[in-house]
């Protein structure tokens, strides 16, 4: 009973909190939002005990919702869902706190939308009914669309509108095909429930078609080259908090979707398409890295580096090896944490100097040592230095790809070198060198900014040194998925 109650609390509390934030008014909104997000984090961590206590390591709840078609309100939290839920609830308070120094007009709307987004994201990660999953998948799009559109930072309004709209159209277009795929599966299985879909026997041709329909939705969201064209512009135009939500959590929806809703349902389709998808993902890795080297805009550089990182995760997932899958989960968590800190550092630089242009910056280390140290640690984590979180993830992923194909693993491995190139070059230009007129008045971190960096840095090292708990947590879930894949 307690576990269901807690599950419901974790699930619905962000929605309630969104309403509270909206009622709290503009002045109090950010404090209410931050408090609610912290409460949510604590509650979600408590789920771990319930999962450990439950049999088979899964908390499930099912209630009929719509009889015709047969759609149930089914939630289930296993290790994999738990990790992603905790990632969400860990990052959302940081995102909220990261905006504390900023003047935000219509603040209550802004923070309410962030919490609404959290509600939808958690819904995506714990839905155990394909239809419910789809609804939350789409619901997550609405708040981020408005956040990006209304609070966006791009100078040119028309350009921003077009960029955000492109993002909306791409993701919605992709997911409509996913809906078609799900409807097709429903016609075969008579239910949207995840267990029914897992045990479905489809013939080979059907599997390939269903794979393509559902894959498009995930590929746009992740994004995998060539579905990525919305990404750099949207990251650039959205407010940084929105970019954090997008890069930190939202693209994990796509990766999670691959693991939960694609691999086990159409394993044969996956086998047929894997060679192509892995190649695409590896192309994305190299492409993202190469373009990132040439970027002068801080936010765009991070956007392209993010493209490279998620490409590697996607490639790891499609190796269908245990290491690849484990690596993908660890790297999802690491990438989420690191990318948020990186975008936050970019935001801090922008707030103080008024520019994202790398060439105009320099010498921040001389005036703001605390900031530069934090930034350095995050950069090191992003390039995957040993003892940091990305190292574990990238190592497992590359190992998985190596098991699949040696040549591909070598090509994908260049990401570490290229990543080091663009990241260190960026850090060098921003923090080292001569202090110029723009950076000479650079203020060091204040308490609310420290409150974001400290948990991130702690997480970077904890996961980097001791990733055991995460791996232990997701193992049963991944085994289950692999069993269905190789059935």
């Amino acid at each position: 009973m307690f576990e269901t109650g807690l599950l419901f609390f974790v699930f619905f509390f962000p929605l309630v909190a969104a309403a509270l934030v909206y009622l709290a008014g503009h002045k109090q909104a950010k404090y209410v939002a931050a408090t609610a997000a912290v409460i949510e984090f604590i509650a979600s961590v408590m789920l771990k005990k319930c999962i450990a206590a439950s049999h088979a390591g899964v908390i499930e709840f099912t209630h009929s919702w719509i009889d015709k078609p047969n759609i149930s309100f089914a939630l289930s939290v296993d290790g994999l869902s738990f990790i992603l839920v905790v990632l969400t609830t860990f990052l959302v308070p940081l995102i909220v706190i990261s905006t504390f120094r900023k003047e935000i007009d219509n603040a209550k709307g802004f923070y309410a939308l962030i919490l609404l987004m959290q509600f939808a994201l958690i819904g995506v990660f714990i839905a155990a009914d394909a239809f419910l999953f789809y609804i939350f998948w789409e619901l997550a799009l609405i708040p981020i669309y408005f956040i990006a559109l209304l609070w966006g930072e791009g100078r040119d309004r028309e350009f921003r509108n077009r960029a955000i709209f492109k993002f909306f159209l791409y993701t919605l277009g992709g997911s409509l095909f996913m809906l078609l795929g799900f409807i097709w599966l429903y016609q075969k299985a008579g239910s949207f429930n995840i267990h029914a879909l897992y045990n479905l026997q489809l013939n080979a041709a059907e599997q390939v078609w269903v794979f393509l329909a559902i894959f498009v939705a995930f590929a746009v969201k992740i994004p995998i080259v060539p579905f990525h064209t919305w990404q750099p512009e949207t990251y650039k135009e959205a407010p940084t908090a929105g970019t954090m939500l997008l890069a930190g959590i939202m693209l994990k929806m796509g990766l999670y979707g691959l693991l939960r809703w694609l691999l086990p349902i159409v394993p044969h389709g996956v086998m047929v398409c894997t060679p192509y998808v892995i190649v695409l993902a590896v192309i994305g890795v190299v492409y993202g890295s190469v373009i990132a080297i040439r970027q002068n805009d801080l936010k765009k550089l991070l956007a392209y580096s993010s493209l490279a990182h998620v490409g590697l995760i996607a490639a790891g997932i499609f190796t269908l090896t245990r290491e690849g899958l484990e690596g993908s989960v660890v790297q999802m968590v690491s990438h989420g944490i690191n990318v948020i800190a990186l975008f936050f550092a970019a935001e801090i630089i922008f707030q103080r100097t008024g520019t994202f242009e790398i060439a105009k910056l320099g010498g921040i280390r001389n005036v703001a040592p605390k900031f530069s140290t934090c930034f350095m640690i995050v950069v090191l984590a992003a390039v995957g230095l040993p003892l940091t979180n990305s190292f574990i993830g990238e190592f497992l992923l590359l190992f998985g790809i190596y098991e699949y194909n040696t040549v591909l693993s070598i090509i994908a491995g260049t990401t570490i070198i290229l990543g080091a190139v663009y990241m260190f070059r960026m850090y060098q230009n921003v923090a080292l060198g001569e202090t110029n007129s723009l950076t000479s008045t650079f203020e060091d971190l204040n308490w609310s900014e420290m409150a974001v960096f400290v948990p991130v840095i702690v997480a970077i090292f904890v996961i980097g040194v001791y990733p055991g708990p995460i791996l232990h947590m997701v193992q049963p879930a991944l085994d289950n998925i692999l069993n269905y894949v190789w059935r």
Binding site: K68, P69, F146, L149, L172, L176
Partner: protein, 459 residues
């Protein structure tokens, strides 16, 4: 049956009110009357668990007719509530207008409950003639005249074709009664004359639901008519015509449907494509909604392509979602256009700041029309698509999905205008009656979307 009788009486009563100088109370009276009729209509639910014929099968009351009557009466109540303010400056004519709206409803009710070709034709005519007059009712506006005239000419032409078709069917079948026709033709293959007759009836109905290529009247008529009349056409008339279309073909022309399936699929595809792609370039909100209405007709025609047990639920749910969202959208448009003096999309600029509630309501209505979950419009599309896939029309569903993506573009044009564009227009007051209708519609759209169970399994 009693629904139809009472509604007609109410219409007559409105005209009498004019004579006895009761103009002041005629509006509350007719709204109250419709509410009572709504209740009485619902009492017919599940009587005898099946078809219940009246007057030698002229009218057949069954659950299908009851739910659609309920929906149409509800929409008419909304229209009447709006009309109080809309006709504020034309008090001397108000009872005429109200009577015409109620007669439109009578036609619509006949269209969802007919059991005989004659009643079907009467329904179409009562509905259309009231609308011809209403379309031209803004006497000093040339465009309103144009709309009335155009609608009348094209509509009467369609009625002629319809009558011709009915005659051919009668000549073959020897009866107007739908159940008898169905019985005679269920076993044997229909003759060529019968097929031609069905084809002509189909053409007339496609005209009435404004399907491409019979849609050319719709944008001009929607645009030129007074907005309240446009609302009536876009919701009551269109839903009634569709309900009639479905009822007619599912009751007695199922066997002749295969002969037309190719043509019908082509028309459906064309309707969706023409509606959506023409809507992209519109800068008048009313015209845009007119074209979007055409594309919605296309989605509903997918349901008629796949006539089978579950489809009527899909048709009803779609009508419900479409009707409520459209009324909400048009009402906001009416308020905005009245204040800006234009119904261009620029009139919506900055509405998000000036009137956040109104803008929020319009956003929800647009999201629902675009079919984004969890609003009613999403489930509506879902039901239609899944019925079609079940009946093997995968190709047309893929086309419909592509069209839904295109549609987002123009629905979001309005949302863009409201939230991202600046405007120096003044803040204005909204009449409580408008606010009431918008709020109720939007809440219903949300509720129906979250709890589709209650409405999707009715039939």
């Amino acid at each position: 049956m009693k629904t139809l009788v009472y509604t007609s009486s109410l219409g007559l009563l409105c005209m009498l009110a004019e004579m006895f100088n009761l103009r002041k109370i005629v509006l509350p009276l007719s709204i109250a009357g419709l509410c009572v009729i709504f209740g009485l209509n619902m009492m017919d639910w599940d009587i005898n668990n099946g078809n219940h014929p009246f007057y030698h099968g002229m009218v057949v009351v069954n659950n299908y007719s009851v739910v659609f009557s309920g929906l149409l009466i509800l929409l008419a109540i909304f229209v009447l509530i709006l009309s109080g303010n809309f006709y504020k400056n034309e008090q001397s004519k108000i009872s005429d207008y109200l009577a015409l709206i109620i007669f439109t409803l009578c036609g619509a009710l006949a269209l969802v409950s007919f059991g005989n070709m004659v009643m079907f034709f009467l329904g179409i005519e009562v509905l259309s003639i009231s609308l011809y007059v209403l379309a031209g009712s803004k006497k000093k506006d040339l465009r309103s005249h144009e709309a009335g005239m155009k609608y009348f000419l094209m509509g009467s032409f369609a009625s002629g074709i319809l009558l011709f078709g009915i005659t051919l069917v009668y000549g073959e079948a020897g009866t107007f009664d739908l159940q008898l026709i169905a019985k005679n033709y269920s076993a044997m293959a229909p003759s060529i004359l019968f097929k031609v007759g069905v084809g002509m009836i189909m053409i007339a109905l496609l005209f009435k639901v404004s399907a491409a290529p019979f849609h050319f009247w719709a944008p001009d008529v929607y645009d030129g008519s007074p907005t309240l009349v446009t609302i009536t056409m876009a919701t009551i008339a269109k839903i009634a015509a569709f309900a009639a279309f479905y009822r007619l073909f599912s009751m007695c022309f199922i066997t002749s449907m295969p002969a037309y399936s190719g043509v019908f699929a082509a028309v459906t595809a064309l309707t969706m494509i023409v509606g959506n792609f023409t809507a992209l370039n519109q800068d008048s909100f009313k015209r845009m909604l007119a074209f979007s209405g055409i594309s919605h007709a296309g989605y509903l025609m997918i349901a008629i392509m796949s006539l089978s047990g579950g489809t009527q639920n899909a048709v009803f749910y779609y009508s419900l979602a479409y009707g409520l969202s459209t009324i909400a959208a048009f009402t906001v448009a009416m308020v905005v256009a009245n204040n800006a003096g234009t119904d261009k999309i620029e009139a919506f600029n900055g509405l998000g700041k000036r009137k956040p509630m109104l803008a929020g309501a319009l956003t929800l209505a647009m999201l629902s029309l675009a079919g984004i979950p969890p609003f009613a419009g999403f489930f509506a599309k879902y039901y239609i698509f899944s019925e079609a896939i079940k009946n093997g029309h995968l190709g047309i569903v893929i086309l419909a999905v592509i069209n839904s993506i295109v549609a987002i573009y123009y629905y979001f044009k309005v949302i863009f205008a409201m939230y991202t564009k600046e405007s120096d227009a003044v803040v204005f007051e909204i009449k409580p009656s408008y606010l009431f209708v918008v709020t109720v519609c939007v809440i219903l759209v949300l509720l129906i979307g979250i709890l589709p169970n209650a409405f999707a399994g009715l039939l």
